[in-house]
């Protein structure tokens, strides 16, 4: 019912753009708040329509999935959650999908954050992943199968010291359990004992710092999920092999979910994402058509 109404309204909104174009050409561009309204509608209605769209998996995402597939059960994976709730719509689905994948493949997961909010987001992701039936059946134990080391201040300096000794930066884990009492950390001293680093990053400190220190200085392997704002900035690292696989923004998350076959939030959002892009493109085109017509008139 809701989705039918939403679909009809969506067509109405689409058609009304023609009127907007007419007004724009005539030199009476619509007011800012009307543009706001359009954006609100072109995101709300597609969400209510509840449709999905097919996402082709791109090479950058596939590279990360390949790297994960190469890891054997029991591999030690460091998941660094370096973001806050502001970027959660983009990064949290990746975090949940990654946790599901890691737990299903019996990786030992070590969670930490260079942003104080990160470990809290990780807790939410783990909680959600644990609801999966297959994972729940495994009866995973905190401290043995996974651990949350919490946050430490010092940004890139934290990574620098983890290069020689994790314990120095995390004498206690998030639940105040001493490092040496955690079975999972028994034979982990520094990056040389970690098989893969998965970093979710919304800025600084984030993927760039992990690459510069953990990868370039200490020889670790790192794959990352980034907000779309940051993703273009790390592409050179992808080509040089400093970064192993990249999930960029919501579409990267949806592709990741598709590639590892864990349908999640990003997949349900991608349709709304698509329509909102179409709206922005339409607005840019309309603005520019008006711009060229007025410029021609001025010249004539």
């Amino acid at each position: 019912m809701v989705s039918t109404i939403a679909t009809v309204l969506m067509w109405g909104v689409g058609l009304s753009l023609i009127y907007v174009l007419y007004r724009t050409i005539k030199g009476h561009p619509i007011e800012r708040r009307v543009v706001f309204l359009y954006i609100a509608l072109t995101i709300s209605l597609p969400l209510l329509m509840g449709k999905t769209a097919p996402v082709p998996v791109t090479a950058d995402v596939q590279q990360l999935v390949d790297a994960l597939n190469e890891l054997t059960p029991g591999s030690k994976v460091l998941a660094a959650f370096d973001f806050d709730p502001a970027s959660a719509p983009e990064l949290q689905p990746m975090g949940v999908a990654f946790m599901k994948y890691a737990f299903k493949h019996d990786f030992k997961v070590i969670v930490m954050g260079l942003w104080p909010q990160g470990p809290q987001q990780a807790n939410q992701a783990i909680e959600l992943a644990m609801k999966d039936e297959i994972i729940a059946a495994k009866n995973l134990q905190y401290g043995i199968d996974y651990v949350n080391l919490g946050y430490q201040s010092g940004a890139e300096f934290v990574i620098q010291y983890m290069g020689s000794e994790f314990k120095r930066m995390f004498p206690l884990d998030d639940r105040h359990i001493p490092y040496d009492s955690l079975p999972i950390m028994n034979d982990i001293s520094n990056f040389s004992n970690i098989d893969f680093i998965f970093n979710l990053s919304a800025g600084k400190p984030g993927t760039v710092e992990w690459i510069q220190i953990a990868v370039d200085r200490f020889g670790a392997t790192c794959g990352a999920g980034n907000t779309a704002v940051q993703a273009p900035q790390v592409y050179p690292y992808l080509r040089s092999g400093q970064l192993t696989g990249l999930l960029g923004g919501m579409s990267g998350g949806a592709e990741f979910e598709k590639a590892i076959n864990e349908k999640g939030q990003a997949s349900t959002f991608i349709f709304a994402q698509m329509i909102s892009h179409a709206t922005v493109i339409a607005f840019i085109i309309m603005g520019n058509i008006a711009f060229f017509i007025t410029r021609k008139k001025k010249k004539a």
């Binding site: 969400l47 719509p89 983009e90 370039d216 993703a231 080509r239 092999g241 959002f269």
Partner: protein
């Protein structure tokens, strides 16, 4: 509590969005709550995760290991930092600041030089003709791409070269450089739009799903 929480969250969300209509007291109240809670959150996280975990446990170990006396110097510098609040002895806060600036400068100098300069130069310096190892045929897409990368990096650097006027062949190279930069910014632009829209989708999804239960 959960239900109350969702209502609080929804009202705060709408309160911030009210700025879109115009700047108003409701927005300013929500914003003030944001500033206060955010500062409080950071303070608590840094108290437990950094000061307690790193400093307190370090100097008063619980597992019988030797206390690390060097940490007291760090705490001393930290306390000096707080002196900034006073206008009389605020100058002493420059000591810990000088330490942080120096340490960051030393670390960054090598980090950026290695990861962002040397290793990028190395990755650009490749055989530009990419051949499929099985069929021995040239892969044209990647070959053209590799050549473009060399041209793009060199011409981009030429554009950011300030000791010579952009004339003649140098000027034309710089012009190519700016085209590459513009495509770079264009891609950034597209990705930024994607990012911003995602965040709004996340918010509207919260309103529809958790608050209004329009979505399941």
């Amino acid at each position: 509590m959960e239900l109350l929480g969702i209502w609080v969250a929804a009202l705060l969300t709408l309160g911030i969005f009210s700025f879109l209509y115009k700047d108003n007291p409701v927005y300013k109240i929500c914003e003030s709550i944001f500033i206060g809670v955010s500062a409080g959150y950071w303070a608590i996280a840094n108290f437990f995760d950094a000061l307690h975990k790193k400093f307190w446990i370090g100097v008063f170990p619980t597992d019988g290991s030797d206390p690390d006396y060097f940490l007291w110097f760090g705490a001393l510098l930290g306390v000096l930092m707080l002196m900034r609040l006073s206008s009389k002895i605020g100058w002493i806060a420059r000591w810990p600041l000088a330490f942080i600036v120096g340490a960051t400068a030393g670390l960054y100098m090598m980090l950026y030089f290695v990861s962002n300069a040397m290793n990028q130069v190395s990755s650009t310096m490749r055989d530009v003709i990419v051949v499929n190892s099985d069929t021995q045929l040239i892969i044209w897409g990647e070959t053209v791409g590799s050549i473009l990368i060399v041209i793009g990096v060199v011409s981009g650097l030429v554009y950011f070269f300030f000791s010579k006027e952009h004339k003649g062949i140098f000027g034309r190279t710089a012009r190519v450089g700016i085209w590459f930069l513009m495509i770079t910014f264009g891609a950034h632009f597209g990705y930024t739009v994607m990012s911003r829209m995602s965040l709004l989708i996340g918010r509207i999804d919260f309103l529809f799903r958790d608050w209004l239960h329009l979505l399941k």
